[in-house]
């Protein structure tokens, strides 16, 4: 046994390399080895890595699942996969086939890969301390209902997801039972359901991402302690579409985000003790729709500009605070010139309350009658929530 077990080897796969197939290279690799895959298309069915190795592609190295197989399964820790192209994962109704699936893997990295027509793209199960960075995923949306998620995490912790681009999957990024993970700088565009989706996940952060043209931007459900900062939510249009859908969320922060051209900017149900500040709400149908079962949320220092409705609710009761926001619809005055309006602003139009109950009444939106009713209601509120007012509306747009 004179073989050097300390220094790692490089194993070359390709026409000119010592290995013809990736499978044979994986089989003879030991912990710490590096497999380099030369340019070419490799059709080798389902591959499995069970040692701490690095699998690197030279440009043009493609692993093809021939629409039959899950391509790469990783069942070891400390594995790195980078610069490979994965294509044509087999669709399975029963199993969540993925281009790369990590099972009980710690400290692994998936970096700078391309995924085309993958069912699920990158799938992590019971894994921790992994990094997913710089990958580009595009699914085939010909039959969208059978497409899987782009980056899918189930029962994971301490994962970093950075600078990936995900298009035309079911959910761009999906978290179920995930803790202490960070999602930064990703572009999640044109996905069938959500750009990003949290279920039963705690203590996660998503910052500086773009969610554009998805059926809905982000859904945060049955989850607590999520920080949502500096993201852009754009063009999420449709009957059940939102920038953010909050359902049963507590103790979270939504700060410094931009909501532009969405049907609804933020839809909140059963949501409490959250801080929503320093956001821009531009040209949405509804900027904020907050249901009466939501309590103790604080909206402050936000800009509400050019929305058809700034705030809508479904009850006269209100247990939330709106304070010191800028409202482009505010028509009050500022006699003492301190930058704060002298009369409170009521962001809930009577009409928005009506269409919560009778959606078809929306056809009257631009009618004179509605303007008259809204004007009367703003002078003597009879139906809109009495306490839902901003006592310190800003006269100028907040920086």
């Amino acid at each position: 046994m004179w073989i050097n077990i300390v220094s790692a080897k490089e194993l070359i796969v390709g026409e000119s390399g010592e290995f013809r197939t990736i499978r044979s290279a994986i089989e003879s690799a030991r912990d710490g080895d590096r497999i380099i895959v030369k340019s070419g298309i490799y059709r080798e069915g389902a591959l499995e890595i069970t040692r701490a190795i690095t699998l690197t592609g030279e440009n043009g190295a493609v692993l093809d699942g021939e629409n039959k197989f899950q391509i790469l399964t990783v069942k070891a820790s400390g594995v790195t996969v980078n610069n490979l192209t994965f294509e044509n994962v087999g669709v399975s109704y029963v199993q969540d086939n993925a281009a790369i699936k990590l099972i009980e893997s710690d400290n692994s990295n998936i970096i700078d890969n391309r995924f085309r027509n993958a069912f699920f793209g990158i799938y992590l199960s019971k894994s921790g301390f992994c990094t997913i960075r710089g990958n580009d995923l595009v699914a085939a949306a010909e039959k969208e209902a059978s497409s899987g998620n782009g980056i899918h995490l189930w029962n994971c912790h301490d994962i970093t997801i950075e600078n990936n681009s995900i298009q035309r999957h079911r959910d761009g990024i999906y978290f179920e039972f995930v803790k202490r993970s960070t999602i930064t700088g990703n572009h999640s565009i044109g996905n069938l359901r959500y750009g990003l989706h949290f279920m039963f996940s705690d203590t996660c952060v998503y910052k500086n991402n773009l969610f554009k043209g998805n059926s809905a931007g982000v859904a945060v459900m049955y989850t607590k302690n999520i920080t949502m900062q500096g993201n852009r939510f754009e063009d999420n249009w449709g009957a059940a579409s939102y920038g953010i859908l909050l359902k049963d969320i507590t103790g979270s922060e939504i700060t410094g985000n931009t909501f532009m051209n969405n049907t609804v900017g933020i839809h909140a149900e059963g949501t409490s003790r959250n801080r929503i500040s320093d956001n821009e709400f531009l040209n949405n149908g509804w900027a904020v729709r907050i249901m009466a079962n939501s309590t103790d949320n604080v909206f402050s220092q936000n800009n509400f500009i050019g929305n058809a409705f700034d705030v809508a609710t479904n009850s006269r009761q209100n247990y939330n605070v709106f304070d010191s926001n800028y409202w482009s619809a505010y028509e009050g005055y500022d006699l003492n010139r301190d930058g704060v309006g002298d009369v409170p602003f009521r962001p809930v139009r009577l009409f928005s309350l009506l269409i919560e109950q009778y959606p078809t009444a929306l056809i009257l939106l631009r009618s004179f009658l509605i303007d008259v009713i809204d004007a009367a209601e703003s002078v003597i509120p009879a139906l809109t929530p009495e306490t839902l007012t901003d006592a310190n509306p800003r006269m100028r747009r907040l920086p």
Partner: protein, 146 residues
């Protein structure tokens, strides 16, 4: 006389309420508000008056039952896991709860038209084969234990 028969047959068709296709990726679940995206789990409830509620999972349909009085329910339907798009009445369906088959709302429930399908899935994936009554009990206790 001919027109008369047309009328009668129209009325019969009108009373024979059928589930309506779900627009996947578009329709929202009446219970959890999620957009319904997985055609293996789509479910529906039809009321006596003909209103249709759509759900993204069997567990959402079962959890919604408290919101509608029993005597107003006309029928409840789920999708066959083996043949997405095929509707089965909940009281004629077989269910499998198996932690190896994740469902949209985390209760691992899938539904089958044929008891043999449910049994063969059980031998493959483990879990319990249930009828609709047992599903309702499990969903209810799941929600009260939270």
């Amino acid at each position: 006389m001919k027109t008369y028969w047309w009328l009668i047959s129209l009325i019969i068709i009108g009373c024979n309420r059928q589930p309506e296709g779900i627009q996947y990726g578009h329709d929202a679940c009446a219970h959890c508000r999620m957009i319904i995206a997985d055609e293996k789990f789509g479910s529906e409830l039809i009321t006596q008056k003909g209103k249709i509620y759509k759900f993204d999972s069997i567990e959402c349909l079962a959890a919604y039952l408290g919101q509608i009085p029993d005597n107003e329910i006309h029928s409840m339907w789920i999708t066959d896991f083996k043949n997405p798009g095929k509707w089965i009445r909940t009281d004629e369906a077989q269910f499998l709860q198996s932690t190896n088959i994740p469902s949209p709302m985390g209760m691992f429930l899938s539904g089958y038209a044929d008891v043999n399908d449910a049994r063969s899935m059980q031998t493959q994936f483990d879990g319990d084969v249930l009828d609709w009554q047992q599903v309702k009990v499990r969903v209810e206790s799941h929600h009260t234990n939270k």
